[in-house]
Symmetry: C2
Subunit: 118 residues, 2 copies
DNA sequence: GACATTACTTACATTTTTTATAGTACGTTA
DNA sequence: TAACGTACTATAAAAAATGTAAGTAATGTC
């Protein structure tokens, strides 16, 4: 993750693609190793940082943070901080994030079918 | 693209995720900068290498080759070579590839909606 | 006062993906 | 005989994504 370099060809290509293809735009948002899986867990309801971490096998705290930040930036998840000690932070899907549900379910079915085929 | 290093943590994580989450498995297959867009063009019917290239703004021949190879390997597209000179190669979706259509359409709609929101 | 808890942050290393550029094979056509 | 068109391959380099390891803040408990 980290910052994307706005002078790179890659950046320009992503932009151009996203501009004319909404599915590429969408793919940019929910792409990445963990984004979809995080969303699919959040479909079941709010989860804390630590709970998510437990559900995602082997994810590092860094990656989880980065992905959640990206999802938050894209208004897919909402982050709520409770100023307690130790801190408590809850994540939940926004309405548009929740609208990914049918897509995720469909992808899941497709993936299963594809797996059987291979 | 190129080869993925089977000893890396990243490889192990992808495996583990794909094993238990079919949506992550699916994401691995149709992930990458161009895969979805290529598929979405192929939904309209067979296309030659050169035709695809024209439709994809700025893609390099190398990337197009790599993505098509990956899609072929995953049985999403079928490659037909006509041994003529100059050569002619046609790409088309397989049945399972074609089943991505509703997902792509759905993603497209979602992407459009999301775009409006931002 | 040391320690545990939680959700991070930071610096750095490695791996993977993408881009850049040049070159190839091969009959056909000029 | 030399250039042309097509669908590639080879090699290198840049950029992006992911992983490793350590550290932080605040406070309540031992």
């Amino acid at each position: 993750m980290s910052k994307i370099k706005e002078t790179s060809t890659n950046f320009a290509n992503k932009q151009a693609l996203a501009d004319e293809c909404s599915e590429a735009y969408a793919a940019n948002i929910i792409g990445g190793q963990w984004a979809l899986v995080i969303c699919s867990w959040l479909i079941g309801g709010k989860l804390r940082f630590g709970e998510l971490k437990k559900k995602l096998p082997n994810i590092t705290e860094r990656m989880l943070t980065l992905q959640l930040r990206k999802l938050e930036e894209n208004k897919i998840v909402k982050r709520t901080v409770y100023t307690e000690v130790p801190p408590r932070v809850e994540y939940e899907l926004t309405p548009i994030g929740y609208e990914l549900k049918p897509i995720i379910k469909h992808l899941e079915k497709w993936g299963q079918k594809h797996k059987d085929l291979m």
